[in-house]
């Protein structure tokens, strides 16, 4: 099962380090990345059956399709998006989503610090 690869490709194609501009998100480009991601997960369906990371990715993709109003038909070219467009996805600005997408949520923990009184 190579769902992690799909997750990593998706995160890589939608984060600023991929040379994408860093402010306005053009949905059309984001939808390309999302369709590529959906295609990649479909290809893993058989070998990833029962894998929690795979099923959570499929669930999340469904949510993202409706959230960003992307059509499931259309180009899935994972070619680097031309620099003129600047699709930074809100997902980049959500730590939990980034972690979930990378499939490493299970190991992630939060720490608490507090200062009070005298």
């Amino acid at each position: 099962c190579r769902i992690q690869r799909c997750n990593a490709d998706y995160v890589a194609s939608t984060s600023p380090s991929s040379g994408l501009q860093d402010d306005v998100a053009l949905d059309v480009d984001y939808c390309i990345a999302l369709r590529a991601y959906a295609l990649c997960t479909r290809r893993q369906a058989r070998s990833c059956r029962g894998d929690l990371v795979y099923h959570s990715a499929v669930f999340r993709i469904k949510e993202l399709f409706s959230q960003h109003n992307c059509s499931s038909d259309g180009p899935t070219s994972s070619a680097k998006v031309p620099s003129t467009s600047r699709p930074v996805v809100p997902e980049l600005c959500d730590y939990e989503n980034r972690v979930l997408m990378s499939g490493s949520a299970g190991q992630k923990k939060y720490a608490h610090c507090g200062l009070f009184g005298d």
Binding site: D22, Y95, Y110, A111, G114, L115, F116, D118
Partner: protein
């Protein structure tokens, strides 16, 4: 003030003046502590400054500053959020909680902060993903939240407990130096009873409450410990995306021993 570090250590420190709580690539937090009782080592927080460093695609740099006179609902530049994605926001926290509260949510780094004004002082709580912290000792320099207080800044509560056998006498010389007449005179029994009104479980928060009443005679301080416990429940150390486990009331063995001595 009392400090609970990211490693779940509990300390009571002097740290008078400006000290860094956190200083990493995502944010810096600095607090300024002032003596609560003239000439005493007991200090409390009068100013908190949080600097959110710019994060490409999510926010530019934002500074939040609270003082005992002003707990703003906005960053210093007047805005209440950073960047288009709204992944950095300042909101007023409602609820029956103690004192006025401000919550700062930095979604892009999975971080939440609560600043309260309780009586004349401030309290601070933060929850951050562990992988944004660098726990290695040699790294990160002086960060009280990460490495605790320098040894010479720790207040040795057990030496105080001998003093707290009798009511707080005015102007007595103690480990903490001459004390200005406190608001009230608290015996250990009265301080314990007062703290039990808000903190049923006798854990380190309870002991901090007793310690504060004994050192300051200021009943507002019993609410500081209560507020800090509420903040722990609101921002619990937990696994990502799990339902935060019931926060086990904290018994830090070493601290509870010395704080129990203070409470006694």
């Amino acid at each position: 003030p009392h400090l609970r570090t990211f490693r779940n250590e509990f300390q009571t420190c002097k740290v008078e003046g400006a000290w860094p709580l956190i200083d990493n690539r995502f944010l810096s937090v600095q607090v300024t502590n002032v003596p609560v009782v003239l000439g005493s080592s007991a200090t409390a927080t009068s100013k908190i400054t949080v600097i959110f460093k710019s994060f490409q695609g999510c926010t530019d740099q934002k500074v939040y500053q609270a003082t005992t006179e002003d707990l703003p609902l906005a960053f210093q530049d007047g805005t209440r959020s950073g960047g288009e994605s709204g992944s950095l926001t300042v909101v007023e926290r409602g609820g029956s909680g103690v004192g006025r509260q401000v919550k700062i949510q930095a979604r892009y780094i999975g971080t939440s902060i609560i600043v309260r004004r309780v009586g004349s002082y401030l309290t601070f709580a933060i929850r951050m993903p562990e992988d944004t912290l660098d726990f290695s000792e040699d790294n990160g320099g002086l960060q009280l939240c990460l490495h605790g207080c320098p040894r010479n800044e720790l207040i040795k509560e057990h030496t105080l407990s001998r003093q707290s056998q009798q009511p707080r006498l005015q102007g007595t010389n103690t480990e903490l130096g001459p004390l200005r007449p406190p608001h009230q005179v608290y015996t250990v029994e009265r301080a314990t009873a007062r703290c039990r009104e808000t903190l049923q479980v006798e854990d380190v928060y309870f002991q901090s409450c007793v310690f504060d009443l004994l050192t300051t005679g200021d009943p507002e301080f019993s609410l500081a410990a209560y507020g800090a416990l509420e903040d722990l429940k609101a921002l619990p150390p937990s696994k990502l995306k799990q339902n935060p486990p019931r926060t086990p009331r904290l018994y830090d063995r070493a601290t509870s021993h010395t704080a129990a001595a203070a409470a006694n």
